[in-house]
Each structure stands twice: as C-alpha cells, then as structure tokens.
Symmetry: C2
Subunit: 155 residues, 2 copies
DNA sequence: TTGTGTGCAAAATGTTTGCAAATCA
DNA sequence: TGATTTGCAAACATTTTGCACACAA
C-alpha cells in the first residue's frame, strides 16, 4: 500500500469512527509514514512538529492508539521502557518477529509464520485461545565484533 | 533446587561478589521464594515487609538485579509497564516462553526448546548472533468464555 | 453552532538516585 | 574501623489526564 493510499485509509478510518480529520492528526500521520525505521512517541513529536509546529505531545500520544487501531501503525514493545512504532505497509499480518541489534539499536521485522501454530499448540494445553503472540530476539553484530565497525551504522 | 539450597546459593553469590549478606536482602530472598506466582517489585516489597518491616522500596529495587544476575530469579517483561519476577527453581534455561491469560492475568512458563534454533536462523541472515530471545502469547480463557467462570480464578 | 480536539501543565506510574545515617565484615 | 548498605525523599522517564480554549463538521 502506497503512502497516499494509507493516508486515505487513515482519513476514512477517522470519518467512519466519527472522529475529526484535523491538521494535527494528518501531520502526525505524515511524520510517521516518512520514517524508515522504528520510532518512539517522542521522536514522532519532533518529526510532526517540523510539519506542523502546533502539534503537542498529548496529541501524539492520543493519536498513536488511533493509528494502531486502524492497523496503519504497528506497536512494538522490546522491553526498554518506551514503545516503538512502525508503519504497517502490508496487510498487517501479526506473524512478525523482531530482531533487535544491541549494537546499533536497530529493530528488524522478520516474518515468523510458525508463531501462530506455536501459540495454538501451547495455549490449547492450558485451555486458552491465543490472541496475540510476539517473538523477539536480541542479538549482537558479527561484523562489528570482528572488524570494529557496524556496516549498518553508516547507512 | 530446594529453597534452603537456593538461599545458600544466594549467600554464596553475595559473598563471592564482595557484597554483604544483610537482613534486608535475606528477607527479600525469602519473600521472593515464598511466592507461587509471578510478582512485581511492589508486591515483593509488601511480602518482604511482612518478614522484615525495615525493608524499603529502594532496597527491593536494588536487590532484584542482584537476584536476577545470580540466576535465582527470572525477569519477565510482558509489556505492561511493570516487570514481573519469578523464582528460577531449575538450572535456568532461557528457552522458556510465557503464556499470559488476559482473563486471570496469570503468567504460565512454557518450555520452548525450538526458540534457540529460531534465534540462530533469523539472526544469521542479518549477520547477527543471538543473545536472548523471548516468546510470549497472550490468550483468553476458554472455560471462562463458555461457562462464565475461570477454573483458575478459584485456586 | 457545538461538541470534539487541542495545548498546556499537572498527575500518574514504575523505577532510579543522592545523601546522611546505620550496619556488616 | 570504615566502606557498603540502607531508608527516605526527590528525581526520572514515559505516558495519561483535567481543563479552558480552538476548531472541524
């Protein structure tokens, strides 16, 4: 899905929910979809303020759940205290794992189709039905360890 | 490993690290190992104060990392803001997944031996070496949905 | 017009830290 | 003795909320 299409989906989602299409919400959307990597609420505030300097921290925090609910954004919690967000370009399969590089702090999204099977297997033994599942790997950079430089640092 | 053995391991760990064996630290240990389910720092403070009412919140927060480092306690972050802890009775394999029941808020620890394979597979594609991995499933109680009562609520 | 959305600042939450007094080795 | 540990309260970091004003429908 292209960014204009996503923007349109966002507007439609707001309208259909009886929410208003405000400049701030659009600025936050634009800021989010201009990002290549994962970002925090605070970073998104900075980005959004470049587009519209009237955007406040409160509005960012109030808009993020809306964008998450509309499946335009994916929320990622890697246990660092702050939440990360990521534009959800595709349909929005939840069968995605994260690999977090401890050296460059980058988060990689990796397809993990077997997660659903695992969730079902393990939950059914407990008499539970899985709702969500998450798989996260934290790892160290091989190249950095061997050569002293992380190839991804540069890019 | 029995509780007395674990207690002994804790004392040895402290001494060997040049840390002191204080009443507060022992009270916190005893409180932690008396728990059946996962607990938070705040809950542990309450439990420890029953044993020794001089225990403060700060000491609990300062002791938890020590007990985690000594592999007597396992830290579990399920993305709810607060961290949970759990006595690590066995050797301490990190190949454990958590199933969190959204209805009774209980956390179940489940062996997940394939996680290591997965971490290696996915990380190597990125030129990374896995350090830790976590797999968490959130689920709903079947019995509660069908009969209106959660069998685990009672116990 | 009017009720939703906004910015601001204060509150809430979970955790960490500075410091003087207490205590273990 | 003397350095480590403690309790207290203040500091922190992130997120949430109350309220009066602004603005989209």
């Amino acid at each position: 899905m292209s960014i204009p299409a996503a923007r349109d989906k966002f507007r439609k989602f707001l309208t259909q929910k009886g929410l208003r299409v405000t400049n701030q919400r659009l600025a936050i959307f634009d800021a989010a979809f201009a990002q290549k990597n994962h970002f925090t609420a605070e970073q998104l505030l900075d980005y959004a303020r470049v587009i519209d300097d009237s955007v406040s921290r409160a509005t960012v925090y109030r808009t993020l759940p809306i964008m998450t609910e509309s499946v335009l954004l994916r929320e990622v919690d890697i246990g660092t205290g702050e939440k990360f967000y990521h534009p959800n370009q595709e349909g929005g399969s939840s069968q995605v794992a994260q690999v977090v590089c401890l050296d460059c702090d980058r988060i990689f999204e990796i397809s993990a189709p077997f997660m659903e099977w695992y969730g079902n297997t393990v939950s059914s033994k407990l008499g539970l039905t899985p709702v969500t599942q998450r798989l996260q790997v934290s790892a160290r950079c091989d190249t950095l360890r061997m050569t002293g430089t992380c190839p991804r640092r540069a890019s």
